[in-house]
Amino acid sequence: MLADVRDDFPLLARTVRNGRPLVYLDSGATAQRPRAVLEAEADFLTRSNGAVARGAHLLAEEATEAFEGARADVARLVGAPVEEIVWTSGATAAINLVANGIQNATLGAGGAEADRFRIGPGDRIVVTELEHHANLIPWQQLAARTGAELAWIPVDDAGVLDLSTLAEIVSPSTKVVAFTHASNVTGVITDVAAIVARAREVGALTVLDACQSVPHIPVSFPELGVDFAAFSGHKMLGPTGVGALWGRKELLDALPPSIFGGGAIAVVTMERTTWLEAPTRFEPGTQPVSQAVGMGAAARYLMSLGMENVAAHEARIAQIMREGAASLDGVRLLGPVGGPAAGDVLGLAAVAVEGVHAHDVGQVLDDRGIAARVGHHCAQPLHRRLGLTGSTRASAHVYTTEADAHAFVEALASVRSFFGVTA
């Protein structure tokens, strides 16, 4: 069981509108940071801040050690060898790094080793209909610019991935399958094994959007069998401005970079550049050093709680919010209702209130001190498919209490009468 960790998070003690206590249910967008993370960064900055991997002086040494130590901590969280973790500015950058690397390979970069990444007319890229824009647009645009075809795995009427036509959609011409580990709208955890199995049959690369999984459930990328995976610091209790790409070493070493600068190179002349091995080749310019240190501290914090405990805690929160929301008149719960067993869904609930716009729902919640998210949550196609322009999402993290979950359901229950909408 998860210990009560609320006191670790200074921000949660603040009050909001009219002095009400804060009920923070927007962790799916960005999480709050525990003291362990804030202090790791502050200690680094007031003690060891220096240029990483570039100097022979003491601060540079200490900074390098902290930076690489953090990489090892993050690697441990996701079950990966340390040299397979590339620091990025976030998950969005990590996914784009792969997509733009494939584009550059297609344009001739990377030599023979990059052959396996080249795509073009006649090839297919597969995504899903419920992807976050961060894992849709890079592939859509890559397809548009290389002449490859974009196809997608559809969702059913509840917004859940329909894998019944998987073998058709992931056709033999498929080169990349990019999909999320967990939907940031329905909370449903993807059947990764099924998609990976089919992708392997056709020799396609798999790219996993692990933004919503790494912070909330136990994850081992090597065990999942995907080829690349992206996640962000700020959703896993760490800083903004930092994230990571994981990839199999031999793929990372072969993928051409698409952002160029200092530190990532072996030899530079005016005419030519040779790159270092991964992960360094993808880390040009000054890295988010203190942020990486913070993300490492976040990984350690989560591991000290135990990801199994985190998942179990959030499953309980999910249950209260989802069952509570689904039981209300005129409230539609996005995703499966009651279906999945604990652990198969993240600690979140997105709802549409009949006759009341999401923004208005959010306003009622906000008035009660409840911070939830309204809108399309960067998943416009999914909302469109469900006949909605937006929804109201409450999302939990380690610090979310059952009382928070109940407060959400109670506030939700009051919405329709406030707006004079009754069935």
Binding site: R17, H357, H359, Q363, H376, H383, T389, F419
Partner: protein, 161 residues
Amino acid sequence: MSSLEQMYQQVIMDHARAAHGRGLVQVDLPAHGESHQVNTTCGDEVTLRVGLEGDTIASLSWEGQGCSISQASISVLAELLDGESLETADETYEAFRALMQAKGEPLDDDREDMLGDATAFVGVGKYPARIKCALLGWVALKDALIQARGASSSATEGDKA
């Protein structure tokens, strides 16, 4: 009155439920304009169409879905400005923008008079994230009027040629 009730005043609720000017009307006037605006926070969209006769807004209609604030705001706008002069429209637009920037404080009497029902949106000014909702239709109006004026001046030029 709680902030929430100050925001969702009865007049706003009424406008949201039965909105004026909803349903795009065909405009055959040479000086016409149409604007499509999206509120990127929530994806709400509005299409607003105007037609001018001289300096008068002779037709003003719109279509769209959105929150009660955005819908009510467009409805009030339509009620206030359909049939009014361009000058009144510009002044009202400025007054409404000022109301949104006023952080919940009322404006001076002159502008309050000009805004009529639109003064009910005073509470929105306390919620920066909702100002966009209230302005959605007004931004569309501004844009549509620019186009209509452009059309009218090029029509005039065309006359000259």
